[in-house]
């Protein structure tokens, strides 16, 4: 594990001055329940997913539902549908910790425009890898596998919404959702579906994994919102994991509405009660 190498790339901070999280920390402290429930489990079991990906080359994504050109496309093809984007995004977990990470990928909007969507399409549903015989976390029925996430179509088409295939200038590590994941920086991390295999355009709001598992704790929208608490903790502050805490205690800072992207995305929710649609 080349932990001594600085792979934070050209972006040492985000546009708000937040330090980029060290690569070693970003790849060792993860929530990816398909690979286990502990923060260190995804890194520990990364090889399982790496082997699975290698055995299923090329990775494919299947488009279905209200799509004009449904079908299964391999990753390289899909990544050719849009211009490569380099974005440094804040990742705010619903558990009140956050990181700043550089991502590479294509706009989900470019991909959706390429496959085309019908006038009936209102939502986008993303499904993660399903391999219960391989992935240790999927052997328990604690969540309804496969992991499903979703966005409203206008959120999916927003120019901040990325399908990421890399971070820190490298292909996505397995524990971070290789080979393709969603990055929606104004939403809590659980919306950032990992290891995506299916994208469906739907008329109805998709039943997303966490909003089904604990509907009073996790809503469909899951926009970062310091004013709407999780039932068990406040969302007003977050612990920024930037490696500056000497490994013991990272500093707490105030959480910003829409994770600091309000200027770009607040308009999507004009007239909507975000306490109800949490």
């Amino acid at each position: 594990e080349p932990t001594g190498i600085d792979r934070s790339g050209p972006h040492q901070t985000d546009e708000l001055g937040g330090l980029v999280t060290p690569f070693a920390l970003a790849t060792r402290y993860n929530n990816f329940y398909e690979l286990g429930w502990g923060k260190g489990d995804p890194a520990r079991h990364a090889e399982v997913l790496r082997s699975y990906i290698a055995a299923h080359e090329p990775w494919t994504v299947t488009f279905s539902g209200e799509v004009e050109r449904p079908g299964t496309y391999d990753l390289a093809t899909l990544l050719g549908w849009g211009e490569l984007q380099e974005r440094t995004y804040r990742l705010r977990c619903v558990e009140a910790w956050s990181m700043v990470m550089p991502w590479q990928g294509v706009l989900l909007g470019d991909v959706l425009r390429r496959v085309g969507y019908t006038s009936q399409a209102r939502y986008v549903q993303l499904t993660s890898v399903f391999a219960p015989e391989t992935l240790p976390g999927q052997r328990s029925a604690s969540l309804d596998w496969p992991y499903v996430e979703g966005l409203r179509l206008d959120e999916a088409l927003h120019p901040l919404t990325l399908l990421a295939s890399g971070m820190y200038g490298e292909p996505l590590p397995a524990q971070n959702g290789a080979p393709l994941r969603l990055a929606v920086p104004w939403k809590y991390g659980f919306k950032w579906a990992k290891s995506v295999t299916h994208i469906a355009l739907t008329r109805e709001m998709p039943l997303t994994t966490w909003s089904v598992a604990a509907p009073h704790e996790y809503g469909f929208y899951a926009n970062v919102n310091p004013d709407v608490d999780h039932p068990r903790w406040s969302q007003a502050t977050e612990r920024r994991l930037d490696g500056q805490g000497g490994g013991l205690m990272e500093a707490r800072q105030e959480t910003l509405p829409f994770n600091g992207y309000a200027e770009q995305v607040a308009g999507l929710y004009a007239g909507q009660d975000l306490r109800r649609d949490f």
């Binding site: 594990e1 080349p2 932990t3 070693a24 920390l25 060792r28 402290y29 329940y33 429930w37 502990g38 923060k39 260190g40 890194a43 520990r44 558990e95 910790w97 328990s140 604690s142 969540l143 598992a213 039932p231 068990r232 903790w233 406040s234 612990r239 994991l241 490994g247 013991l248 205690m249 990272e250 707490r252």
Partner: protein, 177 residues
Amino acid sequence: MAAGDVAVRRRPPGGQPLERALEQTGVLALLLLVLSLACTPLRVWTGWTWPARVRRALGLLAFGYAALHLLIYALDQGTLAQLPADLLKRPFITAGGLALALLLPLVLTSGRQAVRRLGFQRWQQVHRLVYSAAVLAALHFYWGVKGDKTEPLLYAGALALLLGWRLWRATAPARRA
């Protein structure tokens, strides 16, 4: 990459060791509480006397870890200013705080002279608070765990057995009569 893998495995996942300490002290407190509740059934079933002798130490240790758990929570939050509000509006925190508070009278009357001072019956009444404290602690754990609830359910199951046994024993003579 074998060496690297070992390094990853042996190092804590990084970022938030306080969070790990918070989890571990909480689980230890509950474990010790459950073990202290297992002493009497164990003594009755086996006739051994040592479980009765370690019971007090287990209970005191449970309180110690629970108090440490609160301290780490305060450190992690950076303040205890939010605690009163949290206790009122978050059932998860209420259960944990109440469990710790209920253990306090037991700690204060854990000395030998307390039994003499209170009289055995009143002392026993005070110490029955441990049942409520354990149930609240188990509930706090259940609510606190995200996703896989196997571990909190195991503790809840063990607790149900231990408390069920007491209930059964308390009512059994009446049924026989």
